[in-house]
């Protein structure tokens, strides 16, 4: 092949340019005004990298590559067109796909190269396969829980962490043996199988409310496994993309774990989501005040400043479009309406922002927790829609509460609090919320979507 000396540097340069474009792509994500350039950069980088790879020496089978690319596109398009409310499970599923790819490539490389595998290569190859396979099954489990195919409640049993750590230890020991004896092919399926099992067991004890952290963590694992694959294949592009993805997932999981007041070590070992339903038994029957849509509409239209606090309940009820109508109706009357976004509201980082943006609510009306908490004392009405634990004042005051210390939205400091909720049943973590028993709190019982709709109708019919 006399073309080889020419094509190799060309390939390397396409990879270099792709790496630059990937970094720019993430950099442009820093603000909504430049974010769409980021997509272009990413897409061009990706095309360059794939194009460069096709030039690589030794590739003979273009037909099958083309078939696989077309098939992948056919799978990818529907996954790119899912409803916005399904984005968390879609994201979990794509972590699974990414990890699946990495695991398969690692497995193929092992069987191609064994028994001539240098120790370092075998070390990163095992890392790639262990991380990839546990991320694969773990993400599938997470997607199943988010899609509610699997129960969302955490499933725990005695000695769970011990069993999990034991399995992980076996997988790592297997990897260690393979590093020393890469010819021990029969050990490889064992290591693979145990890691796959570990991924399932790792997610079983995790409840829906912890999903933002878990998804971020799986994102990080997927990135790290891809970086490990980069070491195996000696591909700097892959190392860079994997490191970027890994650090992105890590940052998000740190933000999420801080927002839930969990230590980071706790997150890293996956031993979380075990907030037990410490049933608020022995409570004296406390009274709540409830109100009708008509009363709620009257209070809202008399207010100057309203802060809406959306939560997972809004997503479940698909109420975001009705909330936009409410926003429009109140804004037209000169009411200042903003939205307070808790970092872990919903099922993944940024979930609420996407849903509200989908409903055409301008993003400068969406305010982060730290920026809006100081404004609650000057707020006339805080309207909580389908959020619970992130508004629970017990996190500030009750050191016995399981969520004590978690940063919350200080809705209880607003002059009036209205909570749209289906019933008085406690939230996901099974923790009672003292907010509901305050004198200034009005409970609006009903489905989020229909109740907001009723308020909007009252506002429209109630004269100007």
């Amino acid at each position: 092949m006399n073309t080889l000396p020419v094509t190799q540097p060309v390939i390397e340069i396409t990879y270099l340019v792709a790496s630059i474009l990937f970094i720019l792509s993430l950099k442009w994500m820093s603000s909504p005004s430049t974010a769409r350039h980021g997509i272009w950069a990413g897409e061009i980088g990706m095309l360059l990298a794939i194009g460069g790879t096709l030039l690589q020496h030794g590739i003979v089978d273009y037909k099958w590559i083309a078939i696989a690319l077309v098939l992948g596109t056919c799978v990818g398009i529907p996954l790119g067109l899912v409803q916005m409310t399904a984005v968390p499970q879609r994201t979990a599923l794509s972590h699974a796909f990414g990890a699946f790819c990495v695991t398969l490539v690692g497995t193929a490389e092992f069987y191609l190269r064994s028994p001539q595998i240098p120790r370092f290569t075998m070390t990163v190859l095992s890392t790639e396969v262990i991380l990839g396979s546990l991320t694969f099954t773990g993400s599938l489990m997470a997607a199943g829980k988010l899609q509610e195919v699997l129960p969302q409640r955490p499933i725990t049993y005695k000695g769970q962490n011990l069993v999990n750590l034991f399995l992980l230890a076996i997988a790592i020991a297997g990897a260690g043996y393979l590093v020393l004896h890469p010819g021990a092919r029969q050990l490889f399926p064992l290591m693979l199988g145990i890691s796959l099992l570990f991924g399932v067991l790792m997610i079983i004890p995790i409840g829906g409310a912890d999903m933002p952290t878990v998804i971020s963590l799986l994102n990080s694992y997927a990135g790290l496994s891809a970086a490990a694959m980069g070491f195996v294949l000696d591909s700097k592009l892959l190392i860079i993309a994997g490191a970027l993805d890994g650090s992105s997932g890590l940052i998000l999981s740190i933000i999420m774990s801080k927002a839930m007041n969990r230590s980071f070590g706790n997150v890293l070992f996956g031993a979380f989501g075990q907030v037990q339903a410490t049933a608020a038994a022995g409570q004296e029957a406390r009274t709540v005040r409830s109100a009708t849509a008509e009363e709620a509409a009257a209070i809202l239209s008399a207010a100057n400043k309203v802060v809406v606090v959306p939560g997972y309940g809004m997503a479940v009820a698909q109420a975001q479009h009705k909330v936009r109508e409410l926003y429009d109706a109140l804004s037209k009357r000169g009411v200042d309406v903003r939205f307070a976004i808790h970092p872990v509201a919903g099922r993944m980082p940024g979930h609420m922002n996407v849903l509200l943006a989908e409903a055409d609510i301008p993003y400068d009306r969406l305010v982060e927790m730290d920026d809006i908490n100081g404004d609650f004392p000057q707020t006339d009405v805080a309207l909580v829609i389908g959020a619970n634990d992130v508004t629970n004042p017990a996190a500030r005051t009750d050191s016995a509460s399981p969520i004590y210390g978690m940063p919350i939205l200080d809705v209880d400091k607003a002059r009036t609090v209205m909570v749209i909720k289906r019933s008085m049943s406690p939230g996901f973590a099974g923790i009672d919320n003292p907010l509901y028993y305050l004198d200034k709190t009005l409970m609006l019982f009903g489905d989020a979507k229909s109740f907001v709709n009723d308020i909007v109708r009252e506002l429209a019919g109630g004269g100007s």
């Binding site: 990413g42 089978d61 696989a68 899912v82 591909s235 993309a241 490191a243």
Partner: protein, 98 residues
């Protein structure tokens, strides 16, 4: 320790630092699209899979490579598509914006 390994570790370390610095600046507003974008970028693992299919060294590596290319491509296509759809939705109320 070979020099490729050392080179790789340097690259990894630098990229991780860049990742931290760049992603720390991403507005929480965009955390969901950020995750779907990194997901698409991460699917660059497709290059490894393409080589496996293209070289066709063994039946096993070919079959695994095919599945890997399909999985990664679906992430690339789906990831960019949904990120774009999400970002299109983010609008500001300030009329000065184009």
């Amino acid at each position: 320790m070979s020099s490729t390994l050392i080179n790789g570790l340097f690259v990894f370390m630098l990229a991780a630092f860049i990742g931290f610095e760049v992603i720390r600046r991403v507005s929480p507003l965009l955390h969901t699209p950020l995750m779907s974008l990194t997901n698409a970028l991460d699917a660059i693992a497709v290059v490894g899979a393409i080589v496996l299919v293209g070289k066709h060294e063994s039946r096993l590596s070919f079959v695994l490579g095919m599945l890997a290319v399909i999985a990664a491509t679906s992430n690339i296509v789906g990831g960019f598509l949904i990120t774009d759809r999400m970002l299109k939705m983010f609008k500001t109320s300030r009329p000065t914006k184009p």
